[in-house]
């Protein structure tokens, strides 16, 4: 007898805020980031990048660059295509999604400003960058499609003539009879929302060091990535290698947030260069290259309306979306997923049966757009919650009351949304009541009223949200992407009683290694110091998806739990032989084999290891110890583990300057089992601040010619410590029954809700001044424009 589930284990680490085993090296400056790696005979790549958003490449003269000091090779698109085959970023389950073949270096034309066109390899990075200046390209400028609103106009230039038009994808969804509902409604509120194009700004730029050993046909790529196995398969495919000849190693990754879950043309090019030269080649993006090549996100214009009855029943939601995704759909995840999420989940937290959504995903000559933290959720949450507040205002109802009335009842699960999303168990009502209490809503309303009389404009915002986590193969695999939905853990006992866990999920600072160690330690009955976790190496870890879509704890954690249980059983079998006992009467507690009945210590784990490995002669001839096991897990009963939560914001708007001061921020969130409360809370806080970035500061600004105007950290603003509030976080725990661990994801909840709640709070503050803002980011200028003072 050794515990029924992981939640019943003695000395459990589940629910404990233990420190991350890998944080010490980070605070001592001993992190192992990709750029910290050096290899013998290593070369450096730099790229000539298109100065134009759209231009034909007429001629390229590389002679001066080739003659420059230290230069080893200059490569254009044509030569590159001999080594690296092109790709098309489409998936079959996004029916009708189209895109053009994309090359590591384009052959005929550049389609966004900053696209890599010519590669230079030299002995030092400085030499490579110097030589890039000497490459001569004759360009023929082409008409630029910058404004997504005009991308589908007859008169607008078609970027890829083979595709016929600039429409990448279109989706419509409608329930029956929705027009009649709007016609009969007591009130219909309408609004147009703009979501600025922004990007992840990982502090560590994208980084790659590729090494090709022709003697073994072995490609080893050190890459700052969230998903080593996906990249292994993609590099193999496009370089014409077998997967097992490609090893992708991801050490410490300096921020990812979805930026590093995609494949990038300049990274394929770097790999191809190392194959051409049979030498290690490193490429580290500089900050301008990051701003013009890291995927961008959001950039939606949504026109929406909501029907509501006079007594506050939300009756119908209808919207029309256009989003510009750059010149290609990004490979392999595609650029249709964000718009798709918005269609799937807008309004889904409410018991509103009538729903219509239309989305046009269009091509344009800007940096490619793809999935970034919380994919679609910040958009659909702001859209939904902005409409709900407006509807409440129209019928004179309190924003909390209208949510109480319409949020899905906590006892109504499992249930399906109008678009077919299957919800196992959510806790909207409990979460709302909890946050109302945490923030002391009534008191804040009183304070707000009092201050308004004194000319101080404070706003209270509420935004409920729903979030998709722990995705099954329904996300990508069914569409043909080589992306693993399942994940694995291999776990073994060494001869000294230590435990080594190899996991397919990866670490970019979330605390993955801690969570995996906690789960494994608990399942086994060992202390945390006995555990070592290995991640981020395709030669070492079981095949898995990596860390994205809030899946590491829920999917990777469950694999670790099951592997831990299995190894414990095998350890106990050895111990039972050694002790001449029944394995069922034994357990492991704090590194010692004990009697279940009375907890009496029998022998140490180290003693089991010693006998199993060094003295197997003392074990029966017909017994072979197997102290290394692998288990895999993928969610089966539900395609996604939906989570929910609610955020609240209290802020002040200065009508003279348009500046927003954040006073307080609250989050109640339900990610099921909380494995490490501190890590979950820090994921929420970090996520909230990233969401606030999109709401208040961050926007990639373009000229009409498609030139990025603020591609540097001084002009592209992100949240800094001085402007951010402390954030209060609390939880409701609705475990998923799909796994024993019961954990859902938590990494994106903060980002999902923050922009919507900030918008609602600003509009609440501006209400007595008869002003509203719906165009993110809500800069001082836009607030002053809304106030008609500029």
């Amino acid at each position: 007898m050794s515990g029924l589930t992981i939640h019943d284990r003695p000395n459990s680490y589940i629910g404990r805020s233990v420190s991350r085993p890998n944080i010490r090296r980070l605070v001592e400056g001993k992190g192992r980031f990709t750029d910290d790696m050096s290899l013998p005979r290593m070369l450096f790549a730099a790229f000539l990048r298109s100065p134009y958003a759209h231009a034909e490449i007429v001629t390229i003269d590389t002679s001066a660059a080739e003659a420059a000091p230290g230069v080893v090779r200059v490569v254009t698109g044509k030569e590159m295509a001999d080594v690296c085959s092109p790709w098309i970023g489409v998936l079959s389950h996004l029916e009708g999604l189209k895109s053009q073949p994309q090359y590591a270096l384009p052959i005929e034309k550049a389609t966004w400003q900053g696209e890599a066109v010519v590669a230079v390899v030299a002995e030092t990075r400085a030499q490579a960058e110097d030589a890039v200046e000497l490459v001569e390209v004759e360009w023929n400028e082409l008409p630029v499609v910058a404004d997504m609103e005009m991308a589908l106009d007859e008169a607008t230039h078609v970027i890829h003539s083979d595709l016929g038009d600039n429409l990448a994808w279109q989706r419509e969804f409608a329930t029956d009879g929705i027009d009649a509902v709007f016609e009969a409604a007591d009130q219909v509120v309408e609004e147009t929302f703009h979501f600025g194009r922004h990007t992840g700004v990982t502090l560590e730029a994208r980084s790659i060091l590729s090494d090709y050993d022709s003697s073994e046909e072995q490609l080893t790529v050190y890459l700052a990535t969230q998903t080593p196995h996906m990249m292994q398969t993609l590099f193999a495919k496009h370089m014409g290698l077998e997967d097992h000849r490609v090893r992708v190693i991801s050490g410490d990754v300096g921020g990812a947030f979805g930026i590093k879950v995609h494949s990038y043309a300049d990274e394929y090019a770097t790999v191809a260069l190392s194959i051409m030269l049979k030498r290690p080649v490193k490429f580290i993006a500089d900050r301008l290259e990051s701003f013009t090549n890291d995927i961008h996100a959001r950039d939606h214009r949504i026109t929406a309306r909501m029907a509501v009855s006079q007594d506050g029943e939300i009756q119908a939601i209808d919207y029309d979306d256009v989003t510009g995704v750059g010149p290609y759909s990004v490979y392999p995840r595609t650029s249709g997923i964000e718009a798709n999420q918005v269609v799937n989940m807008t309004g889904a937290q409410y018991a509103c049966p009538n729903y219509r959504a239309r989305t046009n995903v269009v091509f344009q000559n800007k940096t490619p757009m793809c999935q970034y933290r919380a994919v679609g959720h910040p958009i659909l949450t702001a859209l939904t919650e902005g409409l709900v507040d407006k509807a409440a205002d129209a019928i004179g109802m309190d924003p909390v009351d209208i949510r109480r009335k319409n949020l899905l009842p906590d006892d109504s699960y499992p249930r399906k949304s109008p678009t077919g999303m299957l919800f196992e168990q959510l806790s909207h009502q409990e979460s709302l009541e909890k946050i109302v209490q945490m923030m002391d809503y009534e008191m804040l309303r009183k304070e707000q009223g009092k201050l308004r009389d004194q000319g101080v404009y404070r706003g209270i915002g509420i935004a409920t949200f729903i979030e998709v986590t722990n995705p099954s193969a329904m996300f990508y695999g069914i569409g043909g992407a080589p992306i693993s939905a399942q994940d694995g853990a291999t776990i073994r006992l060494d001869a000294k009683g230590n435990i080594i866990v190899q996991t397919g999920v990866t670490e970019q600072g979330q605390g993955t290694e801690a969570v995996i160690a906690q789960v494994a330690a608990t399942a086994l009955g060992v202390t945390m110091d006995k555990i070592k976790v290995l991640t981020g190496d395709t030669d070492i870890t079981p095949c898995g998806g990596g860390t994205w879509a809030s899946r590491a704890a829920g999917v990777g954690g469950e694999a670790a739990a099951q592997a831990g249980h299995a190894l414990r059983q095998r350890i106990l079998e050895v111990a039972a032989i050694m002790l001449q006992a029944d394995a069922g009467t034994l357990d492991i507690q704090e590194n010692v084999i004990v009697d279940v009945a009375d907890g009496r210590e029998r022998i140490s784990l180290a003693e089991v290891g010693r006998v199993a490995y060094y003295r197997p002669d003392t074990l029966p001839k017909d017994f072979q110890s197997e102290l290394m096991v692998t288990r895999h897990y993928v969610p089966k009963d539900y395609p996604f583990a939906f989570t929910n939560g609610v955020q609240a914001s209290y802020l002040e708007v200065d009508p003279a300057t348009g500046i927003v001061t954040l006073l307080n921020h609250w989050v109640v969130e339900d990610c099921g089992t909380v494995i490490n409360p501190q890590l979950v809370d820090e994921q929420i806080r970090g996520g909230v601040v990233q969401g606030i970035g999109g709401a208040l500061y961050e926007e990639c600004l373009y000229s009409p010619e498609g030139q990025l105007l603020n591609g540097n950290m001084a002009d592209y603003l992100v949240p800094m410590a001085g402007e951010m509030p402390d954030i209060q976080v609390a939880h409701v725990e609705s475990r998923t029954a799909d796994s024993e661990l019961g954990a859902k994801g938590a990494g994106e909840a903060g980002t999902a809700g923050a922009p919507g709640v900030i918008m609602n709070a600003i509009n609440d503050a501006l209400k007595p001044l008869n002003a509203r803002v719906t165009r993110q980011p809500f800069t001082p200028e836009r607030i002053l424009q809304a106030l008609k003072t500029v």
Partner: protein, 161 residues
């Protein structure tokens, strides 16, 4: 390129003599020539603070300082501060409070925080936030960082009194 220049400096209490290109930044020099990779390069234009190091006792942006400017100077990096134990309490607080996620900003953040702790261990939360507002962190949302610096400051004050 311009002619290489001979420089001598003390880096983490060790004498260093090297020949450098005049255009090489102190951050690149520390990382590439001395292989002290704890100093990170985030933006290369003086905004993000990841490359923060100490030059003659003052924190500077390693990317905006040239290696030749450090000639004859004392340079301290995260490796040196770790070795000396000067900020061990702050580092422990970062570990306990999970004030680092990806850890890329952390060495710069620690050097910046160390300056405030040395100058004013009585700094308020708001002053801490202001002081570290030249250091980007994209992961934590800053609260844990502020908590860790604040608790270190309070402990130092407690020990001093």
């Amino acid at each position: 390129m311009d002619k290489a220049v001979q420089v001598s400096m003390s880096v983490n209490s060790e004498a260093v003599n090297r020949t450098v290109e005049p255009r090489q930044s102190l951050a690149d020099f520390i990382r590439n020539e001395l292989e002290l990779t704890g100093t990170h390069v985030g933006c290369e234009h003086g905004v993000c603070g990841a490359c923060t190091v100490r030059l003659d006792g003052q924190i500077v942006r390693g990317c905006l300082t040239l290696a030749v400017q450090a000639d004859g100077c004392t340079v301290e990096t995260i490796e040196g501060l770790t070795e000396s134990g000067e900020i061990a309490d702050l580092q422990n607080a970062f570990v306990t409070r999970n004030a680092a996620q990806c850890g890329f900003c952390t060495p710069g953040m620690l050097l910046t925080a160390a300056e405030l702790l040395a100058a004013d261990p009585g700094a308020s939360r708001e002053e801490i936030r202001k002081h570290i507002s030249g250091n980007y962190c994209r992961c934590t949302g800053y609260q844990a960082v502020v908590d860790a610096i604040e608790s270190t400051a309070r402990n130092r004050l407690g020990e001093a009194s």
